[in-house]
């Protein structure tokens, strides 16, 4: 008898374990007819924005909706992914949460969200889909076809930022192709500065953006073809990209310490300390063109009493010399999802609608100049933004914003994480002076360890 009781208890524990893992929210994702409320409490979790930025958003929101109290909780990227799942599964999750298009996140966490289509239609009208950035809604839609979140903003990469003060002091010209890049580096290094700082160590997927930029110079269509299985990573284009990277190291464009650490902190700190003339970063770096943001970033990098330098965006040089120029790539950075288990759906809808679809909310996003507004037609209000050198920085960032808003090439959405990691390993092998594997073999290994994406096909 006792044995049977023990066996039953053990079976219960086991069954409990089985049922626990399979639990998933129901597939009922209709938003219903909940009317946006003008009072209530909303909890919002995200890995971005940083808390001070979120607090600015919330303060602006509260000017229009003083009776809705929004509490933001910021997590580090990995912590966010580990915290949000049990919270949503147990029904104790936040009312509003961030969803990224990357890594299949709309499938992973989108099932816990209300479909905001009705809300968007009510707010923006019948043509609501056309009012968001190109591709943003598709990127935040899960494989069941449910829109999981509304985009707060987009992000682009595929260009450089340069320290104009260093270029002036060194008497160097801005690089437009491979040879002019080498020439600029010689002058900059002679002036005692690092030419192009880059951190490709660790697991950070940043080197994939560098690889992607060079690939665009070789053949603008090839990277996404390879990412989605329509081309191979060891095609001639892939070999050429890896050879260019190797040459950049040999010719001194890429620093010897490139594998010491990741892009953060290595490259960010060298650039922000004014030690390096160029760095590859995405649109988010535009925020450091602002006077106060620049000072804060320099202080964070270890500079005391900083005097901000003039940083400007620069097209990625046409390193393959095929006349393909430079192409920006990007996608929705993240969207705001409404938890369907929320007890404050009305207030949550009001907040999400204001952040993602109101002129004022999106203006806040635009003015922070770290995201491309999710809603088309919203531009930074330059009169309210204090730049280090408005005459040079404002037109440069405006042009970058225009390019970013019109890009059709995605950044990571159509590239699996397995492939991103394989690209990182390939780039590291090319840059590692103690690896003597041929470029062809590295490209073959990249192809073998990649996994084609079916997203967006």
């Amino acid at each position: 008898m006792k044995k049977r009781v023990v066996a039953a208890a053990a079976a219960s524990v086991f069954l409990f374990s089985l049922t626990g893992c399979g639990s998933a929210a129901s597939t009922d994702t209709t938003a219903g007819a909940v009317t946006p409320a003008s009072s209530g409490e909303v909890s919002w979790w995200g890995w971005t924005p940083d808390t001070p930025v979120a607090e600015k958003y919330i303060a602006a929101f509260n000017k229009e909706y003083p009776n809705i109290k929004v509490t933001y909780k910021n997590y580090e990227n990995v912590d966010y992914r580990n915290a949000i799942t049990p919270a949503l599964e147990s029904g104790t999750g936040p009312d509003v949460y961030d969803i990224s298009p990357a890594g299949g996140s709309p499938d992973t966490w989108g099932g816990f969200a209300l479909d905001p289509s009705t809300l968007a239609q009510q707010t923006l009208g019948a043509d609501w889909k056309d009012k968001f950035g190109t591709g943003y809604l598709q990127q935040l839609t899960n494989s069941d076809g449910q829109l999981t979140a509304l985009p707060l903003g987009g992000m682009t990469a595929g260009f450089l930022w340069y320290n104009a003060d260093i270029f002036t002091a060194a008497g160097a010209d801005l690089p437009t192709d491979y040879n002019s890049w080498v020439a600029a580096c010689k002058k900059i290094q002679a002036a005692g500065k690092i030419c192009f700082t880059m951190g490709a160590g660790g697991e950070d997927t940043f080197p994939t953006e560098f690889f992607h930029s060079i690939a665009n110079s070789v053949d603008p269509a090839w990277f996404l073809k390879a990412a989605t299985g329509d081309a191979k990573w060891n095609d001639p284009q892939g070999i050429e990209v890896l050879n260019i990277i190797k040459k950049m190291k040999d010719d001194g464009i890429i620093s010897k310490n490139v594998l010491d650490a990741g892009q953060y902190p290595l490259a960010n700190e060298e650039f922000m300390r004014g030690k390096a003339a160029m760095v590859q970063m995405g649109y988010w770096y535009a925020q450091y063109s602002g006077l106060e943001s620049a000072k804060t970033a320099m202080e964070s990098a270890g500079v005391s009493n900083p005097t901000p330098f003039v940083q400007l965006p620069l097209d990625f040089p046409d390193v393959a010399a095929k006349g393909n120029g430079s192409q920006v790539f990007g996608e929705a950075d993240y969207g705001l999802a409404i938890n369907k288990d929320s007890k404050n759906v009305g207030a949550a809808q009001t907040f999400v609608a204001w952040m993602t679809m109101s002129k004022n909310g999106q203006q806040m996003v635009a003015n922070a100049i770290d995201l491309i507004p999710g809603l088309k037609g919203v531009e930074p209000d330059w009169t309210s933004i204090k730049l280090v050198d408005p005459t040079r920085q404002q037109p440069a960032i405006a042009t970058l914003l225009q390019k970013s808003a019109s890009t059709t090439q995605t950044r990571q959405w159509q590239t699996t994480e397995t492939t991103l990691k394989a690209i990182v390993v390939a780039v590291q092998q090319v840059l590692d002076p103690t690896v003597h594997t041929s470029i062809e073999d590295i490209a073959q290994a990249l192809q073998d360890s990649s996994e084609a994406s079916t997203v967006g096909k």
Partner: protein
């Protein structure tokens, strides 16, 4: 010798004993064994967590691990790491412990200095170690000062040396821990035995080899098991220093598992399969080490006396 009936004693103690055991048992089953069973269950699925589709894949995750060159290089790194750290820990620990037992002046100060690395969290020391081993770091600066600038290199950022850096950093703390255990173990050795050896004309090395080391063998076995388990689940130092790179050159099972769980794609099934493999290796190796590490005479004696001892314990 009077013995009590075993059955009678058990029946009197069982209810109270169970009551005392229950909280620990529930906690243990609820938290630890549940996680192990759950990981075992997950290892047969492809799943990203949340509401993503959970697909049964059978043994595919295990096959993927055994087919992966990264997995085998992680196993190799684990073995290299274990052998080097264990060797350094034993040699360094015994050396420091014997030195401290030999009436050294300022012994307390030296004990603190040797033991401090054990209590400093890897996360606190990682930035300093990175600085030491970077391309423009302290190690290369020292080489320059010594006129050996030609040997300067990016220690932490190249495949040929990244594992060495991770291993050396671990040795830094491991010696202190080895010292602590050996120092305590040597305190248990009877002075009469050492004095007798001296009277018989044994020198320091002979005493160390023939008296001290055999008497601290249990400590050595314990260190071997602890080191192996540490190597198997190693995560903090390699992750903080190199994140397993470059190009997986300092990858360990722990960093592999974390990488699979923490990535955007969250391959929870594959990470669980890796965890189960790690668990099996840890249990098997620990049992083997524990069994083979015991003194043969002691084991034989234990076998011979086992029934009698069992009976005696019931008295």
């Amino acid at each position: 010798m009077e013995t009590r009936p075993r059955g009678g004693r058990k029946s009197r103690l069982r209810p109270g004993g169970l009551a005392w055991l229950a909280p620990g048992f529930v906690l243990s089953v609820g938290l630890i064994y549940y996680c192990i069973f759950y990981s075992g269950f997950l290892s047969f699925f492809s799943w990203r967590g949340g509401t993503s589709k959970m697909t049964f894949v059978g043994w595919d995750n295990y096959a993927k691990a055994f087919d992966s060159p990264v997995f085998w290089s992680a196993i190799w790194h684990t073995i290299v790491f274990f052998v080097v750290v264990f060797a350094v820990q034993v040699v360094g620990g015994v050396a420091f412990a014997t030195a401290m037992h030999s009436g050294l002046k300022f012994a307390t100060l030296y004990k603190v200095i040797v033991f401090v690395p054990v209590v400093i969290a890897p996360a606190i020391m990682a930035p300093a170690h990175i600085q030491v081993w970077s391309s423009d770091g302290t190690a290369n600066a020292i080489l320059d000062l010594l006129g050996l600038g030609g040997l300067a290199q990016g220690w932490i950022g190249q495949s040929s040396t990244s594992l060495m850096v991770v291993t050396l950093v671990q040795c830094w703390g491991a010696v202190g821990f080895g010292f602590l255990l050996y120092f305590a173990a040597m305190s248990q050795i009877e002075q009469e035995m050492l004095e007798a050896a001296r009277l018989d004309g044994a020198g320091n090395l002979r005493i160390l080899w023939s008296i001290i080391l055999p008497n601290v063998k249990a400590t050595t076995v314990s260190l071997a098991i602890l080191n192996f388990i540490t190597a198997l689940k190693l995560f903090d130092n390699p992750w903080l220093l190199t994140q397993g790179g470059p190009a997986h050159s300092s990858e360990f099972l722990g960093t592999m598992i974390y990488s699979e769980v923490s990535g955007q794609s969250r391959s929870l099934g594959y990470a669980s399969a890796l965890s189960m493999i790690l668990l099996v290796i840890a249990v098997v190796v620990s049992v083997l080490m524990n069994t083979t590490g015991r003194d043969r005479p002691a084991r034989m004696k234990a076998r011979r006396l086992a029934p009698a001892e069992t009976g005696a314990q019931d008295v």
